[in-house]
């Protein structure tokens, strides 16, 4: 009887420690990467943000900042429409140019931080308004706006490590709702090349 108690105790103890060590406490769904190879070298992958559904709250205009400091946050989808990550965009006006920092984080894969700039000093909302699309209006065909020159990666982690990325931010605007939210798709097209 005592022996049985000892065996049970040992099993319970070892089992608990084994689970504590080996159990996959945190695992993220890993979707197949939708990439293609381009002719002049490199790998193309498109990420998408469906608007307004994937924008996490409105863009934050940092209070007290006269320099037009804006923070935007999105859920990031792959080309197949699966939510695979999160994206943050910080915009600052520095020396008359619009500097943009992008953070694309895909938990199952890694992170890319990119730096870019734009000659468009206004927000995407004001740019859309300048193109004649007012609140409550729809655009047919969609209004396509390339926002800024391609951003370049500065930091990469996880499976993106060792790859240099270029990102083009294209807004396909199909309309603006009554609250001023943009409807459409934000396409984040990346080209990755092995860092030399």
């Amino acid at each position: 009887m005592k022996r049985l108690l000892q065996i049970g105790f040992a099993l319970g103890l070892v089992g608990t420690i084994a689970v504590a060590y080996a159990f996959p406490w945190f695992d993220y769904e890993r979707y197949l990467s939708k990439t293609s190879v381009v002719a002049n070298g490199g790998r193309v992958e498109q990420f998408m943000v469906r608007l307004p559904a994937d924008q996490i709250e409105s863009t934050i205009e940092v209070p007290g900042s006269n320099a037009g400091q804006r923070l935007s946050h999105f859920k990031l989808r792959d080309a197949a429409g699966n939510v695979i990550g999160l994206a943050a965009k910080h915009e600052l006006t520095i020396d008359g140019a619009r500097e943009t920092a992008w953070l694309l984080t895909i938990p199952s894969r890694g992170t890319i931080a990119l730096a870019g700039w734009s000659p468009l000093l206004g927000s995407i909302e004001s740019t859309v308004a300048d193109r004649g699309l007012a609140r409550g209006q729809s655009a047919e065909p969609a209004l396509s706006i390339d926002f800024g020159v391609p951003a370049q990666s500065v930091v990469t982690t996880g499976e993106f490590e060792g790859i240099s990325f270029e990102l083009v931010e294209t807004w396909e605007v199909t309309g603006v709702d009554e609250e001023g939210n943009i409807r459409g798709t934000l396409q984040l097209n990346t080209i990755g090349r092995l860092s030399s």
Partner: protein, 219 residues
């Protein structure tokens, strides 16, 4: 029947002993070593009134701000925490603002690593530039003193408490990289310190410091 009950009793005692060992396991109580001198100290608060945005999948005891913020429930991002907040200490004329993305890491284990969370801070200082802080933090000591001790074991929180959680990825420190503006070519190290005054089922009273030391040769 007697034998089965004895075996089950042994199992139960073994599991309880194992859980006690984990609770007191010295290998995962690790407080990171903070050796960054005075550095550049940026302070934040987790209180709902001090945060612009905070959302997750509601598994953690951090307020969702605003209440209507969409949750991060999809399989690809479940477990992540996204927050945006002002940081005190940028400078009087240039407010600092941060986005924080925290991801519980698959490196987590309760034998020799603790609850490892990978943190990305994108920090912008108005008119100056943006930098990225990437760190690995062990959140087990904080969770042990709050969720496990208070919520599960119904003990009182012994506070105030301070947690120096940063353990990597570089020699016990987080890595700082300049992204835009004046920080573009900057590099450095950082360390996060979390303070908790009280705990009543929510981490809303937590505050923290991000201590950043930029390398002298950063230009």
């Amino acid at each position: 029947m007697k034998y089965v009950l004895t075996l089950l009793l042994g199992l139960l005692l073994g599991v309880l002993s194992g859980l006690s060992l984990i609770y007191f396991n010295p290998l995962i109580q690790g407080q990171g070593e903070h050796a960054l001198g005075d550095g550049w100290v940026l302070e934040y608060q987790l209180a709902a009134s001090e945060t612009w945005l905070s959302t997750h999948d509601e598994r953690v005891e951090i307020p969702v701000v605003p209440n209507s913020a969409q949750l991060l429930w999809e399989d690809g991002i479940r477990g992540a925490w996204l927050a945006a907040m002002p940081l005190e200490g940028g400078s009087e004329t240039a407010p600092a603002a941060a986005t924080r993305i925290s991801l519980p890491s698959s490196d987590t284990n309760f034998l020799n690593a603790g609850v490892v969370v990978e943190d990305y801070w994108l920090i912008s200082v108005a008119g100056t530039g943006t930098l990225l802080v990437h760190g690995f933090n062990n959140r087990w000591p904080l969770l042990r003193d709050t969720v496990v001790s208070v919520d599960l074991l119904r003990r009182n929180f012994v506070g105030p408490a301070t947690y120096d959680a940063t353990q990597g990825p570089e020699d016990g420190h987080a890595v700082v990289s300049g992204i835009t503006g004046a920080y573009q070519a900057s590099h450095g190290r950082a360390h996060e310190r979390v303070s908790l005054e009280t705990y009543d089922g929510s981490l809303g009273s937590a505050s923290g410091q991000l201590i950043i030391a930029l390398d002298d040769d950063s230009d």
